[in-house]
């Protein structure tokens, strides 16, 4: 049996989301036995550095690449180069559809946004004003989520406040400060929808923030619907510090990425778009996820 | 007609009145000595004439017409060269580079103008030889002894086509034999019709070359006399304040 080296390239290594994907891929690689998972990417989210690392991996002669695309056009150029060099290439989490990559594994970000919007409508159908918090201003997948939220809420009673979304640069502390700022700037705000889990990655900061308006949150006067379903977030939801979470399955992405690359190497055909699905979590079903 | 005239010039730094209502004039080719205790305001006066500070009050005229000397570059354009007390050298350049700073010798290659390194080094070596100074033109100024640095600052004035040269303690750090050279240089300048204002604490030097002597005390001009009408003793008394004015 031949052995392979597959490299998983995240957008940024300083993002806990990708740690889960890494764990999934490492675990799967260990199970498979003949596959090695190399996890490497830029420390911060920056397209040119990612492209350079991919070039380095091509030089190094890895057998397969799974890339969470930082910039679509930039990645397209290097992906095509990798494919020409005979490397199996797929994308995960964030896609470059026009490139020669064989498959995309991950979430449909538009759908992710829509799910967030729908969950907000489910939590609080009567509507009001809402604000969003995003990560980096340049991230295409986050922009899609923002669009998805807007699409889902179009025509409903919900209106977006000016100055939304704010950009937290994936920084938990800054995300939390922006939560506070949004609430102060718009005292009547009916919902805050972070399209990534950043502020909740700081559980006590989040509690602190919510405790300031605990009554409003309990009565859903301020609805909190947040992206991602990391364990800390589930805990917070269970404690009543949020109303709903929509999560991707990064661990599963890591697993599927390994399987897909191996399948390509074994000459099997794979589907071009592989959605790993979304988890919609509310107080009712949170225990299932906490197990 | 006088070359430079100061009319009621004052300069204040916050609470310090460095110059107070100072007026005098310098004729072309005249050598004027400027003396005074430390902190009397001599360097401040030089800096006003060479365009570093604007006066707080009063005005200057140069060659008969009102002069607003707003910058050192403008003073140079008027024909005023200065040897500053703090020497104003770029430590990271060689002696030759400092001497030619702002006046580099160049040759043309198409549209470009490149430096003539050798010509500048050779000319600088000549100037040092003329001053009998043990200064090497391609040494960095950073590595030079105090007197070598001063020689660089003095050599610099020799390149220009000046009408007035201000020398703020040019001989403070240089050795006996160059002092004589600097004094004879000042004599030669006079012969070429160039006026010199010489600031020095060395009484014998001032009396050796100057035609007129101005004494400052705590920002005020207390005396302005031809050299023949005064004596080292009187000047010392004026400087220390033992004598109020003359």
């Amino acid at each position: 049996q031949e052995s392979y080296q597959f490299a998983v390239v995240p957008k940024a290594m300083n993002n806990p989301f990708f740690d889960l994907a890494r764990d999934g891929c490492m675990a799967r690689a260990a199970e498979l036995g003949n596959v090695e998972c190399i996890y490497i990417g830029p420390v911060e989210h920056e397209a040119a550095t990612q492209a350079q690392i991919i070039e380095d991996l091509i030089t190094q002669g890895v057998d397969g690449l799974a890339i969470s695309v930082s910039d679509t056009a930039a990645a397209t150029t290097v992906i095509n180069r990798a494919v020409e060099a005979g490397i199996a290439v797929i994308t995960f989490d964030s896609d470059a559809a026009d490139s020669q990559r064989t498959a995309y594994v991950g979430t449909n970000n538009k759908e992710f946004g829509t799910a967030l919007g729908e969950l907000l409508l489910q939590v609080k159908p009567e509507g009001g004003t809402y604000g969003m918090i995003s990560g980096g201003a340049a991230a295409p997948n986050l922009a899609e989520r923002v669009d998805g939220v807007r699409e889902a809420l179009a025509g409903s009673e919900w209106t977006e406040v000016p100055g939304s979304p704010t950009f937290s640069n994936d920084d938990s502390a800054l995300g939390l400060q922006q939560m506070g700022d949004l609430k102060t700037a718009n005292p009547e705000i009916g919902a805050i929808v972070p399209v990534g889990g950043w502020p909740m990655f700081a559980p006590d900061g989040w509690r602190n923030f919510v405790d300031g308006f605990k009554a409003d949150v309990d009565s859903k006067a301020l609805a909190l619907v947040v992206a991602d379903t990391l364990p800390v977030q589930l805990e917070l939801l269970k404690e009543g510090y949020a109303h709903g979470l929509v999560g991707q399955r990064p661990y599963e992405m890591g697993v599927v990425v390994m399987d897909t690359l191996l399948a390509i190497k074994n000459g099997e055909t794979v589907e071009e778009i592989i959605y790993t699905g979304l988890d919609r979590v509310t107080a009712e079903n949170v225990d299932e996820f906490l197990n | 007609m006088s070359l430079l005239e100061l009319h009621g010039v004052s300069k204040e730094f916050g609470a310090i009145r460095a110059l107070h209502d100072v007026s005098f004039s310098v004729r072309p080719g005249e050598i004027v000595g400027l003396m005074g205790d430390n902190g009397a305001g001599k360097s401040t006066l030089v800096k006003i004439v060479s365009g570093i500070y604007p006066p707080s009050a009063g005005h200057l005229s140069f060659e008969g017409s009102d002069a607003h000397i707003a910058s050192p570059a403008e003073a140079r354009r008027l024909g005023i060269e200065t040897v500053y007390q703090d020497l104003a050298l770029a430590d990271n350049l060689t002696a030759a580079a400092n001497i030619f700073l702002g006046r580099e010798l160049k040759y043309n290659v198409g549209p470009f103008r490149f430096l003539r390194h050798n010509a500048m080094n050779a000319r600088a070596a000549e100037l040092f030889a003329e001053l009998k100074s043990e200064t090497r033109s391609d040494d960095l100024v950073k590595q030079m002894s105090g007197g070598q640095r001063q020689a660089v600052a003095i050599a610099r004035t020799r390149l220009a086509d000046a009408k007035l040269i201000l020398m703020d303690e040019p001989t403070a750090a240089i050795s006996v034999r160059q002092v004589a050279e600097v004094l004879s240089l000042i004599h030669r300048l006079k012969e070429a019709g160039i006026a010199v204002i010489l600031i020095s604490h060395r009484m014998p030097d001032v009396f050796a070359v100057c035609e007129r002597i101005i004494v400052m005390r705590r920002g005020n001009k207390v005396a302005d006399k031809p050299i023949g009408e005064t004596s080292p003793e009187e000047v010392t008394a004026l400087i220390t304040g033992a004598k109020e004015a003359a």
């Binding site: 300083n14 100055g163 700022d181 990655f201 006590d204 | -």
Partner: protein, 342 residues
Amino acid sequence: MADTVQGFSNVRRTRFWQKGFLASQSAYVLAALIVIIAIMALLSPNFLTPGNIANITRNFSFIAIATLGITLVIITGGIDLSVGSTMALSATVTSLVLSGLAGAAIALFPGGALILAVLAGLATAAAIGFANGFAVAKLKLSPFVTTLGTLSIVRGLTYVATYGRGAFPTGPDKDLFIAVTAGRLFDLIPISFIYLLILAIAMYLALHHTAWGRYVFAIGGNESAGRLTGVPVDRVKIQVYMLCSLAAGFNGIIISGWLGSAPANLATAYELTIIAAAVIGGANLAGGVGGAAGAIIGCVLIEVIRNGLVLARVDPYWQQTLVGCIIVAAVLVDRLRSLRNG
């Protein structure tokens, strides 16, 4: 002669606005700050609400303690780019030790685990500071490159320590930890603000009323002169870098208490903000000038701008541009001072 000083007939009495704080850059930036606060209050009715003021107070104390530390380094003519990383590593170590002691189930007196954990975090910071100071003072390396190296080294270690996952403070002392970092005194004043005040006063006293402070300024003014006149230059420099790292580490621990988490990317790129705050507050990167009051004013200014623009609901894409403009404008007021001093 009533108008002269010490018998110098050419010196008048210094007017009150020509000396001390009123003649410093800090005073002018304070004036700019007040103007900006007034504008922000007009733009957003929520700006001057007690809740928001409490927010601002807490947010700026988060970087202000580190700014105090870096101001010391800047006064000596150095720079420390590793403060952001140090904040992260100290916070991580504190969280790990706190959780580790809880897990190890070693019976300690109440609060004992917390004290050990915080000491571990601060010891880490002190070690980083010592390394920086040693390289700069003894090996005479450029502070910029050295601390850029440490920035990278320390951030790397933070990732290595938790394999990128970050750490969470847990254990019996966790509530105490939250209370002493994110708590409020009399339910009103954020406790981090109290720490800041105490440290700022200590720094003021040390800088202006002890020989050590003199040495710090002398090193920044003319390091070789200091060395020639018997100032223990190397020792003071090492101390200054250690204090800077300690301040950053303490600041990091406070932030992690407030967050309830020490993510591995905590305080990424904060160094530039912190240095900007110090410089806006009057510290001069060429050395020899700076102070505690200015550092705090600089931090308040930066936080007021950030917070105010969000409250004024400025388009987020424009916010960054405006922050930059206001920073430049804030230092422009210092030109007024120089112009007036002619």
